[in-house]
Structure formats: C-alpha cells, structure tokens
C-alpha cells in the first residue's frame, strides 16, 4: 500500500538531489495509475527514485492514453503490412502527429481522426469543443493549414432521457469551436444505439493542406536552439489526477481546487493557427509540436526524444494563468490552445514579432542541449533529469490476453434470415417509410445545419453527400474527398470483417464522390483492454483493417485508440471508425448523391446477396442483432471504385450514391430527396439475376454497390466500360420529373409521393431535439 502522507519536511521542492538522498520516500505511484512493476522500471531507468515531477511525467506518459501500452503490439501491423508501393504516396506516416499524403502538383494533405469520448460525457459542450481543438492542433503541427473538419458522433438511444442533454451539448460544442475557427465541417457520422448510453463517442477529424516544402516534423535539433512555448497561458486544466502529488508534497494546504473540465477558447486557437502559419511562412520554426494530452510532459519529451540532442527547460518561465500551480502540475496541465516550437536564436526576434502581431503570448522556456537528457529546473533547482525516450517512446508494452468470447458462436448463429419479412407491396412500402424515419437513417439536417460548411469558399461537397470534398488548389481545382464510416453492429458480429466493412464503405464513399482513394486514418473505440473478450475484438479489428488496407493499397497513416469505453461491465460495440482520403484533379467534377435530370437512366452496380444480419432493417423492425455481417469483397470494391472515378472524370454519370445502411431502399429515398426529383424503378431483372426477392433487393446490405444516374447520351459508353471491365451492372430505372407530385415508384410494388417520403425522413431529429 502506498501511503497518502509523505514523511519529512515536505514543503521543500522534491529535487533530483533530494530524490537521490531519500530513496525510501513513499510515493503515490498507484494513485497516479502506475503498476508496481512500472514504478520499479522507472527507478531502474533513473537509478534512483523519481522526483515527484518525474513521477508526474512518467505516470501520464505511460498511461494507456499516451503510451498505447495495450494496443501497440497490434497497431504495429499497420506499419508492417504497408508495402513500399503503398508508402510511396506518404511524405510522413505513423509516428508523426498525423500522416502526410502527397496529392500531386507539389501539394500534400494531412488528416487524422481522434477521440474525445470521456470528457464529452462529463461536459458535452466543452468535451466536444476541445476535441475539435485538439485534432486541429495536431494537423497544424505538421506545418499544414487546417482546411476542414468532420465529426463522428455516437449516442445512446434517441428516446432515452439523458440523450438529449449529450446531443445538444456535443453538437453545439463541435459547431461552436469549428465554426469559430472558420473551418468548414464537411461531414461526419451520427449513430444512436443503446450501447453508447453511458459512454457516447465523440470523434473528430481534421484535414490540412500544405506545400511539400512546408512539412514540419516534431523534433528538437540543433544545440543552442530555443524552446518556445506559445499560445494560451497554462492553468490547472485536466490535472485532477496529479493533484494527489501536490497534496502529498504540500499537505498543510490540502489539495488545491483544480478543474475537472477543460474549457476551450476557439478564438485563441484561431489566432494561434494564423500565427503558426505566418511563422511557417517566415521560416522561423525548426520543429513544432502541439500540446494536447499530457501537455508539457508530452511536448518536451517527444520533441527531445525525436531530436538529436537533449533539452533543458526552465519551468518557471512558463506563463501561468494560475500562479499557485506547482511544477508537477505545470508539467501535466492540459490547458488548451498551446504549441511548442524550436527556434534558432538568430530568428527569435522575428518569431516574437509575429507572435506579438497576433497577440499570442510566447515565452522562451529552454534550449536544445548537446547531451541526451531532458532536464527541467524550477528556479535553478533540478527537478527532472531523464532520458526523454524512456518517457515518450519506451513506456510499457503489454501483451494483453485475448480470447474469443464464448457467446460469439450463439450470436453468430442467431441469423436475421429467420425474421418475419414484409411481403406485399403495401408492407414493403410501410417498411421503406419506417426505415427512412428511423433514428439512424432519418435526415441529419438538425445537426448539420449547426455547422458552417461554406467558410473558406472551397467546399465542393458536404453533407448530405457521400463524402466531403474540398478544393486544395484554387488555380487547378485540385482537391480531396474524405469519408469516415463504421457499422459497429457488423463489428460486434465479426470484428475482423467489421473493420474491413468500415474501410470498404468509406473507400466506396470517396470513390462515389469521384475521388481516387489514397490513404486511411482510424479511431479505434473499444471497451476495457483488461477484458480478454474486448481485447480479442481489438486484435481482430486491427488484423482485419491492416489486411484490407493492403488489398486496397491504402496505407493507414495515423489514428487514435480509445479504450475503456464501457458502462459498468458493458462495453460498447467495437467501433473502429475508418476515414479514407481520396484525391481528385478538379473538384468541380465531383459527383453529387442525388439525380436532377429527368430521363436519365438509373443503374445499380454490384451484386446483391441475401445479407440481412446486422442490417438496419433487422434492427429497426425487430430490434435484432445476430448472425454474420455481409461478406467482404475488396476486389469488387476496388473495381467499383475505378469505374466510379473514371465515370466522374469522363462525365459519364451525373449522380452516384452508395448503398449501405438500409440498402437500396434507403439509397433510392436519399437520391430522390436530395433534389426533390422522383424516379421509376423496376427490380425484376436484378431479382432474377441475383436470385433474390424484391424484399432482399431493397433491404439487403451487400457491399460494393452504388446507384448512378447516367445521361442517355452517355449510356452506351458507360455500359461498355462496365462490360469491358467486368463490373456487374443492371439498368433499374429512370429519373422522373421534379414536379409537384414527384414520386418514388417501384413498379409492381408501391409508389410513394416525395412529399410523403420527406415527411417520414425529415422531421425526426428536429422534433426530438428542438
């Protein structure tokens, strides 16, 4: 047991010298989340007990969140399974703040998705806001201008009494921060499922653009170069855990009041962005790092360990918001809107002038040294003296036991194929309407209307289209498309396939918009790694994703792991959010998801199998989750992608919409409602060819399928291309008139006026949350 009280004269600073002289001092390592063997390892590394400041640094950097100690052994596959050819599009990959992808013409793009789940449950607005703020700084740290954000949100049941609180706060927080930064929000995800009731998921993605030569990496090189901390002042944010140290050391005052919640200041971040970009342009920054989780502990140890020397920091130079902060607390503070730069002494005046121009406070707090140690002093007393790699990169690595849960067999045996199905035209009609108005398929406009999608003037597609598309180069029109996806029900049924299906869907969405998929980021949201069943899900997921990336030739460039997402013993469904980035030469060629021109012909590309387990239909109409998810077919996905990109480039299709949740039925609904233009559809040919019923044709969730609308003049070229490449295709309808009584007419089965369809699809979120 560790004692809560420390012996001796504790009002003194715990210096390295003092630590050397008092090896038997009892330290609160357990309260700080360290295991006994981890604490012993720190002592072995240092050859003495750590000072309380060192203990603070190790404990936070060796936490699950910062060290990836449970996930590391699995994440390695992402690098190992990336071939040389896949790597050829990367300017920087895993290990940097974010991966950087070459998109041609001297341009590069960087993107990454990260989680802010737990803070968003405690204080939804600030949790979500600071989540956006954090990922934007990651992108900025690569030398890139942030150009767009996306948010992936998962909440409990839509009608649960606590859901509205979280939804309101999170959506307002994502919007409040992103809108104020002037970053267009170009898409995201919104899912309601009881498994997220006590543990919502708030993931945020940021995309940035830069010229190749502007790439900045996080390292501290060049003896004598200065370490500059700039941005917001450091307060006591996010150091609830470490206040135990303060109270240990300064017990007569008792633990100080430290905020449990970080409050974001998007305005401070906006000026920080502009300031950084001007600093980059002026060429006064040698290395740069954002301050996120673990604050200065992380930034100093990571910069130093990635550099070629050591670093000496004078902690009393850190500008404080709260003068009572102790050195341990300053090291661990997670105050937002801060960055750290390495600057040559002869450029420091220029640096400071630019910071002053933007009213950004900056302070030189140390310098790069010749040695290999990271040393930190507090008013000339040495309180930290460590090898930085041992803090930043050589933390513990766990081979956590994993085991396929015994219940998995029964889950997979409980197929949705046994569920009663609608048969008549009327029953099918009712089902289409019911699904269209269900929580996960209904219009997301109530959310997306709270986000600015226009700012910067480069957004070529945003919600509700399949991918967000933004222009990178105003001259040429060069731009990127990004989509993220994850069907966590599929992942629950089969995590290996589920991860691949998430990739498959995001890949398809990017191609549907007309862009060539290039690279992947992921955010792996799971339950407790100490549960072997969860660990099995995690292992299966990483293996599935890495294998699939290899097949599709899209490397994982970076991402984030969020564990311990559970309420009591109930873990969330495994939720591997996968983001795909694609490039297009001219974003004005992007393909929207709805048809506009009457008379165009509608084709269904891909094969439909009877795949209903885990589907939206099974969930909405029967509350059922069981069986095995749709078959993964990456070869088909790749071919389909090529067809879609060529069709967009050659102007062969006017609209394209991918089939996923809710199957063909929901895709037709959305393609009609996109521009309020109806369609006449027939399913006989597809049913006969694929050996399926109309019900299956409408609601199955087989992969590698899209619907497209083709101008009649291009029909022959389009079908020739499909035939030549072996793309399964069938003409299933024509685009109808956009008049008052436009309908979605599925011949021989049912017909629904678009007004009725809109009435079913549009109001749910507004009515629930307004």
């Amino acid at each position: 047991m560790t004692g809560r009280t420390m012996s001796g004269a504790t009002t003194h600073l715990d210096t390295v010298e003092h630590a050397g002289q008092s090896p038997d001092t009892i330290q609160p390592w357990a309260e700080l989340g360290l295991k006994a063997d981890e604490y012993q390892r720190i002592r072995a590394i240092l050859g003495r007990r750590p000072t309380s400041a060192e203990l603070a640094m190790y404990s936070v950097m060796w936490s699950e969140h910062c060290s990836y100690k449970s996930s590391k052994v699995h994440l390695r596959q992402f690098g190992d399974k990336t071939t040389e050819q896949m790597r050829s599009v990367l300017l920087a990959g895993i290990g940097e703040n974010a991966g950087v992808v070459d998109v041609g013409d001297g341009w590069a793009v960087t993107f990454k998705v990260e989680s802010h789940n737990h803070p968003s449950y405690i204080e939804p607005y600030q949790g979500a806001a600071t989540g956006v703020g954090g990922i934007v700084r990651d992108i900025l740290a690569m030398g890139a201008r942030p150009i767009a954000v996306m948010d992936q949100l998962r909440f409990g049941a839509i009608d649960h009494p606590d859901t509205a609180r979280v939804v309101h706060g999170v959506v307002a927080g994502v919007g409040g921060y992103g809108n104020c930064l002037g970053l267009p929000n170009i898409g995201g995800e919104l899912v309601f499922d009881p498994c997220y009731q006590g543990n919502p998921l708030v993931n945020a993605l940021c995309v940035g653009a830069l010229r190749h030569e502007d790439l900045h990496l996080a390292n501290a090189t060049g003896e004598g170069n200065l370490v500059v901390l700039f941005g917001a002042r450091t307060g006591g944010d996010g150091i609830g855990g470490v206040s135990v140290l303060a109270s240990e050391t300064f017990d007569e005052k008792g633990p100080s009041r430290r905020p449990a919640v970080q409050v974001g200041d998007p305005f401070a971040e906006k000026v920080l962005i502009e300031c950084c970009l001007e600093l980059f342009t002026a060429g006064v920054v040698e290395g740069i790092q954002d301050l996120g989780g673990a604050g200065l502990s992380c930034a100093t140890s990571e910069l130093a360990s990635a550099g070629d020397g050591g670093m000496a920091v004078r902690l009393e130079e850190v500008p404080l918001r709260d003068a009572t902060l102790r050195p341990e607390e300053i090291l661990m503070s997670e105050s937002q809107e801060r960055m750290m730069a390495i600057v040559r002494p002869d450029r420091i005046d220029e640096f400071m002038a630019i910071a002053r121009k933007w009213d950004v406070e900056a302070a030189v707090i140390g310098e790069v040294t010749a040695g290999e140690r990271l040393t930190i002093t507090w008013h000339d007393e040495l309180i930290v003296d460590v090898p930085p790699r041992t803090v930043a990169h050589e933390g513990p690595v766990y081979q956590r036991p994993f085991e396929r849960p015994g219940s998995q067999d029964a889950l997979q045996a409980d197929s949705a194929l046994a569920l009663p199905r609608p048969k008549t035209g009327d029953e099918l009609r009712e089902t289409v309407l019911r699904l269209a108005g269900s929580p996960n398929l209904a219009s997301k406009e109530w959310v997306t209307a709270q986000y600015d999608r226009y700012v910067m003037g480069n957004t070529a597609l945003a919600m509700p289209d399949d991918a967000g598309v933004v222009r990178v180069d105003e001259e040429s029109g060069l731009g990127v498309a990004v989509a993220t996806d994850c069907n966590a029900r599929f992942a629950k049924l089969d995590p290996y396939a589920g991860a691949q299906l998430a990739l498959s869907e995001a890949y398809r969405n990017v191609a549907t918009a007309g862009a060539t998929p290039l690279a992947v980021t992921d955010c792996l949201n799971f339950g407790s790694p100490e549960d072997p069943g969860v660990m099995w899900q995690f292992a299966e997921t990483t293996r599935g994703l890495a294998d699939a990336c290899q097949v599709l030739g899209t490397p994982v460039t970076g991402g984030n792991v969020s564990l311990y997402n559970s309420t009591g013993d109930d873990a969330i469904h495994p939720t591997p959010v996968v983001g795909v980035l694609g490039v297009m030469d001219d974003v004005t060629r992007r393909t929207p998801s709805g048809w506009r021109q009457p008379g165009q012909v509608i084709y269904l590309l891909g094969t439909t199998r009877e795949e209903l387990s885990g589907s939206e239909w099974a969930w909405v109409t029967h509350g059922h989750l069981g069986g095995v998810p749709p078959k993964v077919d990456l070869g088909a996905e790749r071919l389909l992608g090529q067809i879609l990109v060529n069709a967009s480039r050659d102007g062969l299709v006017d609209a394209a919409h991918d089939l996923s949740d809710g199957g063909l039925a929901q895709a037709l609904v959305e393609a009609c409602l996109r521009y309020d233009v109806g369609a006449r559809v027939w399913l006989d040919e597809v049913c006969e060819r694929d050996g399926i019923s109309p019900f299956t044709a409408l609601f199955s969730e087989s992969v590698a399928r899209v619907i497209v609308s083709v101008p009649r003049t291009e029909e022959v070229r389009f079908t020739d291309m499909c035939t030549a490449r072996g793309q399964v295709h069938a003409r299933i309808g024509v685009v109808d008139s956009p008049d008052e009584d436009a309908t979605l007419d599925v011949q021989g089965l049912f017909s629904i006026p678009l007004t009725e369809l809109r009435q079913a699809w549009e109001p749910l979120l507004r009515n629930t949350f307004s």
């Binding site: 307002a172 919007g175 409040g176 809108n179 104020c180 930064l181 002037g182 200041d265 998007p266 305005f267 401070a268 906006k270 000026v271 121009k357 933007w358 009213d359 997306t448 209307a449 709270q450 986000y451 600015d452 999608r453 226009y454 700012v455 910067m456 003037g457 480069n458 957004t459 070529a460 222009r471 105003e474 974003v587 004005t588 992007r590 506009r596 996109r674 521009y675 309020d676 307004s770």
Partner: protein, 230 residues
Amino acid sequence: MRVGVVTFPGSLDDQDAARAVRLAGGEAVSLWHGDCDLRGVDAVVLPGGFSYGDYLRCGAISRFAPVMEPLIAAAKGGLSVLGICNGFQVLCEAHLLPGALIRNDHRMFVCRDQRLSIERTDTPWTNQYQRGEEIVIPLKNGEGGYVADDATLDMLEGEGRVVARYVGGNPNGSYRNIAGVSNEAGNVVGLMPHPEHATEPFFGPDPRSGTTGLDGMRFFTSLLEKVAAA
C-alpha cells in the same frame, strides 16, 4: 477599383470576400485591424467571422480597432462600406447603422441557403438587383437576430432603408424579417447572409433551392458599376 477587406483577429470570411471582389473584377486590398490606415481604397468590406471570438457581444470589441477610426470617418463621408454578418455587427456596434444583432431566437447556430428579397437598390452594393427581386445566398450565424425599437424600425421602413428581408421563413427571429439595412445615404450597408459565398459555380448554395448559386455576385459587381458611373 480597389476594395479593402479588413482582417480582425478572428475574421473568417476575409479570404472569401477578397475572392469575390476579384471574381467581380476588382482588386482586393487587405487591411489590418491594427493599422490606422485605409490604404486609399475605394470601398471596404467588413467580412464575416468571430472577431475576438464574438465574446462580450459580436462586434463589440472590434468596433474599437484602430482601423475603425478612419473607417468610421470615411463612411460618414460617403465611402462605400459593406458589413457582412460579423461585419454587420461591427457596423451596428460602431453606430454607423441603427439597431443591433442578438442571439438567434432558437439559440442555435444556423447554416442554410436563405431566400431574400432585395428592397433597396440605390446603394453602391445593390444597384444591379431589381427591387423585390428574390435571391438565394448562404446564411450562417449564431447571433443574427436583428433588433431595434419600434421607432427605429418604422424609420428604417419609412425611409426605405431596409436593404433585404428574409423570405420563406425567418431564420433567426429578426424583427420584421430584416436581413440587411443601410444608413441614410445608402453607402453603408449591413447584411446578415453571405453574398460572397454565392459567387463561384460549385461552391455556393445548393441547386435544390432553385438557384444558380451565383446570386451574391451582383453585390460586388454593383460596386464596380457605381464607380465606373461616377
């Protein structure tokens, strides 16, 4: 034609406003909030954004920026000034325009394609529109509710100083559906929605709202017309 676009800390749509000026055939000149200097421009756009985070009240802090000193004087002397969104808020705080903009009545940020009717067409920013013409341009704000006391509202309507009104639903609780107003002479115009975001094909409002997406362009070409005519 040199059109100044002011950048305050927290301005967001300044690049967009400058792009719109260029697309209209003008030269965009960037003006810095901290400089007490208009650099001899022929007109000024105060762009959208969250200057100073929109903390305190939108536009309240920027209104005291050094650049506002010569700007206020020049505006009173007849310089053409367009304040868009946050720029509109700055103009109200600076008392160049009457009224104020408060939190949307539904208390949420709203981003949507907004139908407007143009009511005053003798300003340097709107002379290419027809009176009563309906256009669609993006609207995006959290504090876009236009308010003033009844006497002021009556005066604005009586003198024909309402530049644009919301049509097809009031998006933010603005009194009398007012989306934009002008000073008496008409050279100073404030507008909540964003014409600069409807000036380039493929990057403006959605065709679903029955627009080409370019309805905002004439705010900028009007200006060139006016100067050419002068």
